[in-house]
Structure formats: C-alpha cells, structure tokens
C-alpha cells in the first residue's frame, strides 16, 4: 500500500511565525502536491512538484513556498503565517503519468492565532 505521511495532524502557530509542513511518501512517486481544504471551497492546489528540485505554482501559491530536495519528501513553507492561512492542508503523491490517481496523506489542521 502507498503510504503518505504528514508531520503533524494538528498544529497551532502565531501570526508571523514561519511554519513548515512536511510530507513523506514511501512509493518512489515522482509527483507530489500540496492542497488546502476549506469548507465550501473543496481542495485548492497550492504547489506541486513533478520531480526532485522541480516545482510549479498551483492556483493559490501566494504566501507559500515549497522545497523538494529528495524524491520522497515535499515541504510546504508558510514564510509568515497569517490567520487566513488557518486551514486543513493535504499532501498527495502519484506516479508520473496522466492516468494515475493521487494518494493523499491524513492532513494537517493548521490554526494560526
């Protein structure tokens, strides 16, 4: 079974803090994704990476950055957390190729106070 793990299930941070969310997958997948999930808005793509050191902006990249130094790990960084970044963050990975589904981690619920 594919396993995607995220470093924290729940996280509380203060406004202005730098926040790191980590995602690790164990299936040697090339593609990795970061989404945020908000009620009524579904999932919105923040950033994705199609291979090591490669990244592309998704639909809502403002206020976020990412890092992919190793194939199995994809980090989401909030440079200066704000209250409007309070959300559920989901990481996903998949094999490269357009017909393949994404596999999701359990999510990190981030609260910024």
């Amino acid at each position: 079974d594919v396993k995607v793990t995220q470093s924290s299930r729940y996280l509380v941070k203060r406004t202005g803090e730098k926040v790191f969310l980590e995602c690790v997958q164990d299936m040697d997948h090339e593609n990795m994704f970061w989404y945020r999930q908000d009620p009524g808005l579904g999932l919105r793509l923040i950033y994705f990476s199609y291979d090591v050191k490669m990244k592309e902006k998704g639909d809502i990249p403002e206020g976020y950055s990412v890092s992919r130094e190793k194939k199995e790990r994809f980090s989401l960084i909030l440079e200066s957390a704000s209250t409007n970044q309070t959300s559920m963050y989901l990481c996903a990975s998949r094999v490269s190729g357009s017909v393949y589904e994404q596999y999701f981690g359990p999510g990190t619920r981030l609260t910024v106070t």
Partner: protein, 117 residues
Amino acid sequence: AQSVAQPEDQVNVAEGNPLTVKCTYSVSGNPYLFWYVQYPNRGLQFLLKYITGDNLVKGSYGFEAEFNKSQTSFHLKKPSALVSDSALYFCAVRDPEYGGATNKLIFGTGTLLAVQP
C-alpha cells in the same frame, strides 16, 4: 475555464436504498475523471476513475460511476447504501492545460453523504 461541479452540498439517503452523488464537468478534450472519499478527520481515499472504455466504472466499497459524455456527467452510485458510507465525496477531473505526466486535478467542492439507519 475548466471546471467541476457538484450541485448538491448534502445528500441524505436511508440505509439500504440506492444512492447517487452528482458530478458534472466542463473540460476541453477527453476528460479523465476521478472520485475520492474523505471520512472524518482523514485524508482523501481514491474510489474509482474513468479514463477511457466502458462508461460504467466499478470501484472500491461497492461504488460505481457512470460516464455520460452527452450530459458531461460522472455520477457516483451505489445500489444499497450503508451507514458507514457516510462521508464527504469529491469529484475531480484532470486539468488538460497541464498536459503530459503531471496530471493536475481540478476538484469539486464536495458532497456530504449522510446515510440514516
């Protein structure tokens, strides 16, 4: 613009009755369609996908989905609902503007399925 719509925020059904969760899409070219389920406090789990071929696709947990090209729909169905099917369901379509291997997905807003005992 490419999009996916789930017109119902919530669907209520009695246990044992058939269920349908609706999804319509608007994309250029041939759509690649997916259904995911999210149980409380969990990540999304893949249920099924349509890429090509038979319009009726079977997936996990007894779910199936029917691809209808003329109606641009991909409704999720199950013949007999279980209380344990209660969850949030997401429809997604591949964004054709990101061609090749990357397969960026466009997600719907989700439909909450509530199955009453």
